[in-house]
Symmetry: C2
Subunit: 307 residues, 2 copies
């Protein structure tokens, strides 16, 4: 099992690229480069994402297509999502499918079959899942994933402001000091339990957690409490999480976490220039991916020195 | 707004058909009628669901295609989901898209655009959503839905056993008597709040709740606590909920809830005979839909008399 453990593969790619950055592929229509060829949104998204994959494949370990932006484009967009997954695999990238599905029994098995099952390159290496239905909603994904060497990241502490409405339920009081009993910590404990049967070479299981960069104290607490759980960390940059914040979600060896950045990389061109074709925009995405990698690497290294 | 309130339309259809049954369209491959024409699973599913829609359209108000079973069939299955939604609308049915999406900001807006946005008949009348991210994950759907007269059903208390792992967090103790503070009750209170701005003719908002039939005491409690919230009640029959159980989720006028039954209706043929073509199987689905309607109608009426 460990030979094909999903997060062993991810770890190896992080070491090879010296990067812990996941590039979020969120093809938001309002942020696409100018459509100089006038062929319509779907083909524009398609070409631009292929350009971005070409530009970043050797500098980051991982991409995360967000399926919602593809579903927004209708059934053809959904088909494109799988084309982009295959294209990312051909370029050697680890692919997280950001699908946040959550259902039970044969229904969850249906999602697992569609997203973790295929053997033609269109299955992702890991999906994101929602824990609201408990282990019944996770198990069918682990059954398919463990047969195929694929994993899951389950929402624990999300990066958005209103996550607290739900994820703090059960806490003794406000703030991380009084978070004993809070739902997000309960979910974290369950993730350690659900993953215990499938740990890889460095001790991490195939059940990861989504832990938002915007809650650095909680991220650090979860890092201590969940020693066998990979973290996928959204919320860096645009949403307010700093490199020093996300550094706290890494383990003492500087591993066990991957930091997602979406629009600040893929749509870096928006901040920098208003002209230039899609190829130039993809080059700017590469530069942003490198800069993000370096900022995070420096912050993780600084934290190791400070310890 | 109220003239095109989604749950006013649903209520009207319930009265017209004298049924509070939602037929779940879960095209599970292992339950499909024998493929006498040998054209492969996708076309078999397509034809059978059209047959079922023809057979049930005048006896129930509502259908609920479960998108996971379509995603299991790959991108062509996803396309088929929208074809079935359009076909259900052409037959005058209220359509709940069981997609259980949950994400934030522009991501949630992407899902909302894809599932509640289209004007070509392929948008459902309501989607199911997951509350784990709080109001940030719901609002983008309400923005699209309120412009189009479409609604949402948010998971509160799910029907599966392990739902308790998560949904009971915060409760003072075990059982409904000690459920004060439990996540599912907190979610229920939020649904009343989120829907307050958009109530229809009978006082129900456009933010419904999913409340499993397998927890009848909790269902009855939520019915009392959430007077403006429509309930979508899964878990009837196969999962163990009885007609008397689900009757407790209806209001004093016998409205405000719809009971889902999936395989016991669509795949009724499995229990009854092993031969006969797809057309005969669809007839058995119609008979099961009528029998389910009558069982629930009788239980709701009995409860009104007993009060």
């Amino acid at each position: 099992m460990a030979a094909n453990h999903p997060f062993d593969r991810l770890d190896e790619l992080c070491r090879k690229t010296r990067s812990a950055v996941c590039v979020g592929l969120d093809p938001h229509d309002a942020l696409m480069p100018p459509d100089t060829r006038g062929r319509g949104l779907l083909l524009q998204v398609r070409d631009y994402l292929h350009d971005v994959l070409d530009a970043i494949a050797d500098v980051v370990p991982c991409v995360k297509p967000q399926i919602a932006f593809f579903e927004a484009l209708g059934p053809d967009g959904y088909t494109l999502y799988f084309e982009i997954v295959r294209a990312a695999h051909r370029r050697g990238l680890f692919v997280v499918g950001d699908i946040k599905r959550g259902d039970i029994g044969t229904t969850a098995a249906g999602y697992a079959k569609g997203h973790l099952g295929p053997d033609d390159g269109s299955a992702v290496d890991a999906v994101t899942l929602n824990p609201y239905l408990g282990v019944d909603g996770i198990k069918p994904f682990l059954e398919v994933g463990r047969a195929k060497g694929r994993g899951v990241f389950v929402l624990a502490r999300t990066s958005n402001p209103s996550g607290k409405e739900i994820q703090d339920v059960g806490a003794a009081g406000a703030g991380v000091e009084q978070s004993e009993g809070a739902l997000y910590r309960r979910v974290g404990a369950l993730l350690e339990q659900w993953g215990a049967a499938c740990r890889g070479a460095r001790g991490y299981s195939d059940v990861g957690a989504v832990v938002g960069a915007t809650h650095p104290d909680e991220g650090a607490l979860l890092r201590r409490e969940l020693p066998h759980t990979w973290f996928l960390v959204p919320g860096y940059g645009a949403q307010g999480g700093t490199a020093a914040d996300v550094a706290r979600t890494f383990d003492a060896q500087g591993g066990g976490a991957i930091v997602n950045s979406s629009r600040a990389i893929v749509f870096a061109w928006k901040e920098q220039e208003k002209s230039g074709g899609a190829a130039r925009c993809a080059e700017l995405a590469r530069a942003a991916a490198i800069a993000t990698t370096e900022a995070i690497r420096a912050a993780v290294a600084a934290r190791k020195v400070a310890k």
